[in-house]
């Protein structure tokens, strides 16, 4: 991990609430893994004050670029939308532990809600490179918020879409959908990001089916380098519940261990 300034190649609005940024990562010597994140300074001023964590959306080794898909939620992300191509962004990373992918885990299930897909898309990309097939369920408030469908399909993923506006995103419906997918595919591992209730659902299903599953957690962060202990979550270990740092021990954790409250 290191702090560097990367040149922005493009920064465009892709839907009502989401933006997509591409940066030149040619001077970033480190390997970036799906599930890892960068801590980005959204402005040079003192407000917004803290950096913001952004997961990697796409890693393009050939063109040496990185992509971020981000939800415009508050002042920090609004400021980030004002960064123009040619300008630089101050990034710190790559940070955290990424996803575990074994080639024998084929096919895999991805379950994402909202901007959670930004994190799982990078995993779909790596899976495609390893010859692993993906089945993805994307959940969002509306059709307009359904992101990355084409990106995922471009990696060969089967994509199922559920939305609040169509009344298809409730837990029961998603459970039926997962069970149908499980019938049609011998899912070997599953990954979730972006929703507590979907994470609880997948935790239950993964336990029932005894398949490995991982979760990428999102959390407000202070330092993002493991020293401030601001971003924590509870893990159920054999000898009791342990409070660990999301930025350092995560943000990807074995789903079975995470205490989802």
């Amino acid at each position: 991990m290191k702090a560097v300034k990367l040149r922005v190649l493009s920064n465009t609005q892709v839907s009502e609430r989401y933006w997509h940024m591409v940066v030149d990562a040619s001077n970033l010597r480190e390997t970036v893994k799906p599930g890892q994140f960068f801590h980005i300074r959204c402005t040079d001023e003192y407000y917004p004050f803290l950096r913001r964590p952004f997961s990697i959306y796409r890693i393009n080794k050939q063109s040496q670029t990185l992509e971020f898909l981000y939800l415009v939620k508050g002042l920090g992300t609004r400021r980030l939308t004002q960064v123009a191509p040619g300008e630089q962004v101050d990034v710190f990373g790559p940070l955290g532990k990424g996803f575990t992918v074994h080639e024998s885990w084929n096919p895999i299930l991805l379950l994402a809600r909202g901007v959670g897909i930004a994190t799982l898309a990078a995993l779909a990309q790596e899976a495609a490179e390893k010859g692993i097939r993906c089945v993805a369920i994307l959940s969002a408030r509306s059709q307009n918020d359904l992101l990355a469908t084409e990106t995922l399909q471009g990696f060969g993923a089967d994509v199922y879409k559920v939305t609040d506006e169509e009344g298809t995103s409730d837990v029961d419906h998603v459970r039926s959908l997962i069970e149908q997918i499980m019938l049609e595919n011998e899912i070997k591992a599953a990954y979730v990001c972006g929703s507590k209730r979907l994470s609880l659902l997948l935790q239950e299903i993964a336990r029932e089916r005894q398949i490995p599953a991982e979760i990428a957690l999102e959390e407000h962060m202070g330092c993002a380098m493991g020293v401030c202990f601001a971003c924590v979550c509870d893990l159920q270990e054999e000898d009791g519940v342990k409070t660990v740092r999301v930025c350092r021990e995560g943000p990807v954790f074995p789903l079975e261990k995470v205490v989802i409250s």
Partner: protein, 306 residues
């Protein structure tokens, strides 16, 4: 440019090669990947408690204008881990280690201080007397001059290593606490800890911190801390370590002019992980610009006309 700039400062008998060190709670082994600890004046790992602590409820931090509020609750692995893992880790560095201690009673402060100071790698103790005293119904030790005196006095009996009292800014007259610490035998004072603060989400109407209130740090509080350094400098002869809102070299110089001998950097490292080195470079540039040969020349040299 001055050929030989002397950045050395003394905190009691502890010699620092430069006045910049991290603030406890904003520094840890994980930063090794980003910065060379040997370039720092001192290292100050996170406060250690006797027993493991899980820390407070989340959210533990929130952002404010030019600052952040935190209520981490000293998440700690306890003294056994500290002795077996943390202290041995720092033996590979030549930079002096200052151990920050937090305890639930005066006796516990003394007990922990004796154990920790008994280790060769520990060069000084920073007593975090800003945390709530359970026996005093939540009052921080450092809010009461008599308790501060009794606490430092008792720790003084168990170690000859430098004792630095980290004062709380949440008092009416910080100089009274500083004088009590000095009379009890402290070797230095950290001025100060975070300032008690609160922020509310107007949409959910809930506090932005899980623990309702927390301590604010960052540039928003720097003028208050500079004032407190100035007040404490007038009241005691002890070396002061300024702490609170230093973001750049100019901020550090400002604290030294107010009376600080050294300066801790906390939140700035969250914004820029290499902030401490940027600050050191800016201090050197300042020394060049004003032909200052020794950084100690500027301590307390604010011109007030008084």
């Amino acid at each position: 440019m001055i050929a030989q700039k002397n950045m050395e400062v003394m905190i009691g008998s502890l010699r620092l090669k430069n006045p910049i060190m991290p603030a406890s709670g904003a520094f840890g082994e994980d930063m090794e990947e980003i910065i060379d600890f040997n370039r720092l004046g001192a290292v100050v790992p996170k406060s250690i408690t006797k027993y493991p602590r899980r820390g407070n409820a989340t959210p533990r931090v929130c952002e404010t204008a030019a600052g952040m509020i935190n209520s981490i609750g000293i998440q700690s692995k306890g003294i056994d881990y500290y002795l077996s893992k943390t202290l041995p880790y720092y033996t590979k560095y030549e930079t002096p280690l200052i151990s920050s201690i937090s305890a639930d009673s005066i006796d516990e402060f003394a007990e922990m201080s004796e154990i920790i100071a008994g280790h060769e790698v520990v060069k000084a103790l920073e007593l975090n007397i800003s945390c709530p005293n359970l026996k005093g119904n939540g009052l921080a030790y450092g809010m009461d001059p008599q308790i501060t005196y009794d606490l430092i006095r008792q720790v003084r009996t168990v170690t000859d290593k430098p004792i630095i009292a980290k004062l709380t800014p949440n008092v009416t007259r910080i100089q009274d606490i500083a004088v009590a610490a000095e009379e009890a035998g402290a070797d230095g004072l950290t001025v100060a800890n975070t300032i008690l603060a609160m922020a509310i989400d107007v949409h959910t109407r809930k506090p932005k911190i899980g623990n309702v209130m927390g301590g604010i740090s960052g540039p928003a509080i720097k003028p208050i801390i500079v004032r407190m350094i100035y007040q404490v400098y007038q009241a005691t002869k002890l070396p002061i370590i300024g702490c609170g809102g230093v973001m750049n070299g100019e901020d550090a110089i400002e604290m030294m002019l107010a009376g600080a001998t050294a300066v801790q950097v906390g939140t700035a490292s969250f914004i820029q992980p290499t902030a401490m080195f940027d600050i050191l470079e800016e201090i050197e540039q300042y020394m060049d610009h004003y032909q200052i040969e020794a950084i100690t020349e500027i301590i307390g040299q604010v011109i007030t006309g008084k």
